[in-house]
Symmetry: C2
Subunit: 354 residues, 2 copies
Amino acid sequence: MTDGAQGEVEVREGRATIVDVARRAGVSKSTVSLVLGGSSLVADSTRERVADAMTKLGYIYHRGAATLRGAKSGVIGMVINDLSNPFYVELAIGIEQACQGGAYIPFLANTAENPVRQQQVIRSMREHGAAGLVLAPAIGTSASELKPLLAGLPVVQVMRRLPGLKASLVAPQNKEGARKATVHLIANGHKRIAFVGGMSSLLVRDERLAGYRIALEEAGIPLDLSLVIETTTNYSGGGGAAPQLLNLPEPATAALCFNDVVAIGLVRGLTEAGVSVGADFAVIGFDDIEEAKHTLPALTSVVVNGRDLGSRAAQLLMRHLASGDFEPEAVLCPTTLAIRKSSGAPKPNPLGGN
Amino acid sequence: MTDGAQGEVEVREGRATIVDVARRAGVSKSTVSLVLGGSSLVADSTRERVADAMTKLGYIYHRGAATLRGAKSGVIGMVINDLSNPFYVELAIGIEQACQGGAYIPFLANTAENPVRQQQVIRSMREHGAAGLVLAPAIGTSASELKPLLAGLPVVQVMRRLPGLKASLVAPQNKEGARKATVHLIANGHKRIAFVGGMSSLLVRDERLAGYRIALEEAGIPLDLSLVIETTTNYSGGGGAAPQLLNLPEPATAALCFNDVVAIGLVRGLTEAGVSVGADFAVIGFDDIEEAKHTLPALTSVVVNGRDLGSRAAQLLMRHLASGDFEPEAVLCPTTLAIRKSSGAPKPNPLGGN
DNA sequence: TAGCAGAATTGGAACGATCCAAATCGGACG
DNA sequence: CGTCCGATTTGGATCGTTCCAATTCTGCTA
C-alpha cells in the first residue's frame, strides 16, 4: 500500500534520478542513459516507455554528474562589463542569437566594471564547467590576474583587448570609425571639434581618439587639448562636458563623443544651455545604439552594430570549441557612419570670417 | 626525472583535482576538502600548504561533483523576458546588486519573449543545479507548461504574474500608478487622454489600463475606446501611434503610455508631426528608466524603480532559500510620479471654449 | 611511563551520470 | 534443432567531491 503508483506526475523525495526512471520503465539505467543521449541503439518502444517514465517522474537531468564523466556542459559564459550601457546589452543579445539552435546555452553575468566581481564570476562559470567564455573585460582588468583563471579555456574578447592575454578578439575598427566621423564634421565646416568622454585608461578610447587626431591632422587643424575632455562613460558625463565646451575662450562648435550615451548626455546639456544641436552645434556619437535613432534631434553615430559583433564573437568561440583549436584570432569589423540630424552644418559666421 | 616539480604554475593534463592537490601538499584528499570548506579543524600550517598547492596547480573547484553529494550550487537564475527593454536591464542589475556579497551568484538568461526559449533556459538552469529562480515570464507563457519544470524549486516572479502558478511575486502597484498619472493629466486640463501601447494579452497592461479608466471615471470623463491603442512594446510602436492620435475626429491632447520606451517613440512621432510635446501635447511614460531623464523634453513617468524591484525579488528568494519555506508571498511596491517637462499643461483653447 | 583528551588527519562509501565490454534476445539459416 | 548474427540491453567501474567513522598525533597529567 506504500506505493500506489498510478497517478499523474508524482514527485517523490528530492530529485528523480536515472535509476528511478529505469525502475519505473522496467529497464536498466544504461538504457535510460542511451535514451538521454539520443542513441539509435534503443528500440522505439523502449525509448517511448522511458520518455514516459521521465515526464511522469518529473525527471531532471543532472549535468553535474555527467560532466564528471567528461560530458560537456553545453554552457558558454558571457561576462560583460556594463549592462547599464545599452550597447553592451545589444552585444549580449547578439551573442545569444548566435547561440540559438546551436548546442550551447549562454549564461550572462554583469561585472559592472568591477574586476573583483569579474574574477568571482569567471571562477564561478568555470566551476560550473562552462565550455568557453565571451569576455568584455572590466576597466582596470590586468591580463596577469586573469591568466590563471582562464588557463585552458577558450576565450573570445569583445570590444576591449587585454594586452598580454592569449585570446581571440572581436572588435570594431575604432580608429577608422572615429576618423570618418571627424572628417564628416570637418566637411561640414567645423574647425573647433571636441572629443568628449571616456577615461584615458581605456584602450578603446585611445583608438577612437587616435582616429580623431588623424582626421584633424589630415585637415591641417592643430590639436587643441582643451577640446579633449575625459568624463565618466554615462549620461551625466556627457552632460557635464557641455559648459566646459561652451566656456572655452574659443568655444567648440562640434563634438565627437566616445559613445552614444555620452553623446545623448551632451546633447541634453547643450540644449539646456540654449544651444540648438544640429544647427548651432554638431554632435556625433559612437556605437549607434537603438536609442540614437529616437532622440531629438536624432543622433548621428558611428555604427558599430553590437549585435553583429556579439554574434561574430559567439560564432568564433563555437568554432574554437568545435575544432579544439584555440589559436587566437582577431576579427576587426568595419564601421560606417549613420548621418542624422544632430550633425548639421554650423551656421555660416554672420561676421563673414570663415 | 619525469616530475621536475618546482616551476611556477604548472597545468598538467586536464583539470587538476582535489587528489592532485592533496598529493602535492602531502595530505589526504579529505584534508583538502576540509580546507575548501573553510573548516576550522585543519591546522593553519596545513591550510597554507594546501592553498599553495591549489594555486600552483591552477586548481578549479568542480561544483558538479560537489552537488552530486548534496552541496548547493550557489547559483540563482534570472530568467528575463526582454533585455532590449532598459527597464528589465535595471531589474536585472537590481537582482545582481542584492546578491553582492551574499552566498549566491546570479546568472542571467534572456528569453526574448519566447516561451520555448524560456523552457530551454529554465531547464538548463535546473540541470546545472540552480538553487532558485527570479522569473520575469515571457509573453504567452502558461503556468501549466512551466509547472513540471519548476516543481520543488523556489521561484519569485517579477513584474508579471502567471495565474495558477504557486510562486511569490514582486510587482509594482500598476493600477494606482496609472491612476495617479492620469489624474495629473486631468489636473493639467486634459480631457482627450489616450492610453498607448502594449498588447491586450499582457496582464500588466490590463492593470495599468484599469488605473487609467478609474481616473477618467472619477473625473467624469467618458472612456473613448478610440483613444486606447495597442502597439508593440518598443520605440516604433509608440511612433506609429502618433498619427492615429492626431487624426482622430477629436484628436488627443495627452497620452499615458504603457511604458517609457513606447512613450519615447510617441514623443518622437509627435514631434515629427510638428506637435510640440510638453506644450501642445502631454506624454507620460511608465517605469522611469534612466533614459527618461535625458530625453528632450524630459519625460514625465511613473516611477517603478526596477533596481529596487529586482533587489526585493532577490532578497525574497534568498529568504526563501535560507528558511526552506517556499510559501508564496506577494510584494506590491508603491509607485510615484516623476513630473518633468513632457507633461506640461495644454495651451488654453484660443477659441475660448472651456 | 602509561594513559588520555583533544586536535588533526585520513580512508572509504556514497552521489548520478557515462561508457565499455559482455550478455541476452529473436529470427534466419543450414 | 543448434548456430550465428544483428539488434538491444545490461552490469560494473569510474569521474571529483563530501562526510562519517576511525585513526594518528601531540602534549600533558597522574
